[in-house]
Point group: C2
Amino acid sequence: MKRRIVMIGCGVVGQGFLQILVDKKELLKEKYDFEPVLVGVADMMKGSILHNDGMDIEAFLKHVEETGNVHEFPAEGATIGLNSVQTIREAEADIMVEVTYTDIKTGEPATTHVKEALNKEMSVATTNKGPATLHFKELCDLASKKCALFKYEGVVMSGTPIFDLLDYCLAGNDVLEVKGILNGTTNFMLDKMETENMSYDDALALAQKLGYAEADPTADVEGFDALAKVVILSNVVLGGNIRPEDAERTGISGITIEMVQQAKAEGKRYKLIGSTKLVDGKIVASVKPVKLPLSDPLAGVGGAINALTFKTDLSGDITIQGPGAGKIETGFAIMIDVLNIHRELQ
Amino acid sequence: MKRRIVMIGCGVVGQGFLQILVDKKELLKEKYDFEPVLVGVADMMKGSILHNDGMDIEAFLKHVEETGNVHEFPAEGATIGLNSVQTIREAEADIMVEVTYTDIKTGEPATTHVKEALNKEMSVATTNKGPATLHFKELCDLASKKCALFKYEGVVMSGTPIFDLLDYCLAGNDVLEVKGILNGTTNFMLDKMETENMSYDDALALAQKLGYAEADPTADVEGFDALAKVVILSNVVLGGNIRPEDAERTGISGITIEMVQQAKAEGKRYKLIGSTKLVDGKIVASVKPVKLPLSDPLAGVGGAINALTFKTDLSGDITIQGPGAGKIETGFAIMIDVLNIHRELQ
């Protein structure tokens, strides 16, 4: 079955998604009866193109990789020059893929994109943290009203499935608490400080050299990145309605090599833990360094890996770990959302 | 929507499943539009009862817990005395739950039960390892032909979802290798030998005392239990067609406290690892003790916990860990299968 897709944003994640559609074309068609038709792409920097007859995805991807632009892709009869909202409005699509850059303060322009699509009864797949962090309930209600689906698997732990895990695999459980390692950069640094006796500054410099940490590492080391994910988990998984300022936040910049080595001597290990739980009907959420006993499943999570433990009433403690970033991994998060929209719409 | 269920086997797992249906009645109805109707139960030891108008699940469960029998449950108009196959044949059910005792050599009588149900176009949810180990492809083909579903989430890692994880959350990935800790008893023993410097014999005695290991511990310590799961993973996940004798098997009875402590001194840890992968189109499967580096996600899995790592082409290495046994946990495996059958049949 053909599914018509319009994509807003055409950076690393969007291209990763298109790459998977190309590489897995046969599998998706044969096993899942899924044939993607790309009818439009708009990117703030790379331009836009709309062609409701559909475009050759492989050729389009090659063009973007080679030229760095979208609008010059040769497709007779295509409309170019539309902005992102116009592209969504003019697109005859079943699914809108939203992979623009996250602005965690305003949630824009992603939230506008999502609303435009849902209002047209298009389902949405996004990796953008903004809409889910700031407007989760409103967007779910809108989707439900329009008989469309709002999917966001990639906003936490990228291609490692957590929301689908809860929806499809752990349905019926009450989740009592969620806690995990939600930032790969700080986990990598703490790992190096323990296993290679590296100082905080050296571990940070190495993380920057390897491309894990930004030149300004504040979002990672002070816990803001993990905090956004904790807010999403609080609101999506536990049904809360909190904002970032409602959660305690302490980063790892106060952690010294002596503290890490002292913990090691005690048979413990520092991890930057994001956690959220309901206490007397109220969300209690935090991001902070915690000295874990080595028997904790999260203590064994090394390197730039993410992990989450769900404490559930029926299934006990379920821990999942996997990559928290990456072009193909995050592109996969969009693909599984799109595929599950396809399956649920059938 | 009402879904009519017949259950074959009424031991710990079956009662755990019924308990969840009772405890989660409101949630299942409100969130998933799922209303179970129990039309029949047959158990080799406890007797059978069939009532196609449906029976009060809470009252039935209480009766079984108090009396230890099925057939004396007071339900006017019920038929008693049928055997399991007759019960399936006479039941007007949408779903057959198969939770009888596993006979791994013959797969019976579970395989007969599954075939009877599928031939009647009933979908099947089972925790029985026999049918999936010995007749997987045949049963999938039969289910497909009859437009019914064959679900078996609980046969590996009980309530920790792995097959649904692949189907719903990691669809589109090629799985290149599966490896994990598939036996909680041996994991508990190795853990004690390392962390409490306990001898093999003392660790085994403690596992027996705590109810993890049977009086005859052969199936656990010699790797037969893990082997059955590796065979299932090979055939279900990697599309193989192997039998237990096709896989290498070494248990932990040759592991001494000296070996465990020597590994610890090297910064490594012994785990009984079940693994399977495709090499040149051929399944290579084994169960054996492996000295893992502590950086391996499986090295951190302590106690009587199970864990599996899927090496995938798109999502990287995804590891899930959770309980591998338990009344409610395994009952949940049946419940999620039944719920997903309900959702897919809609």
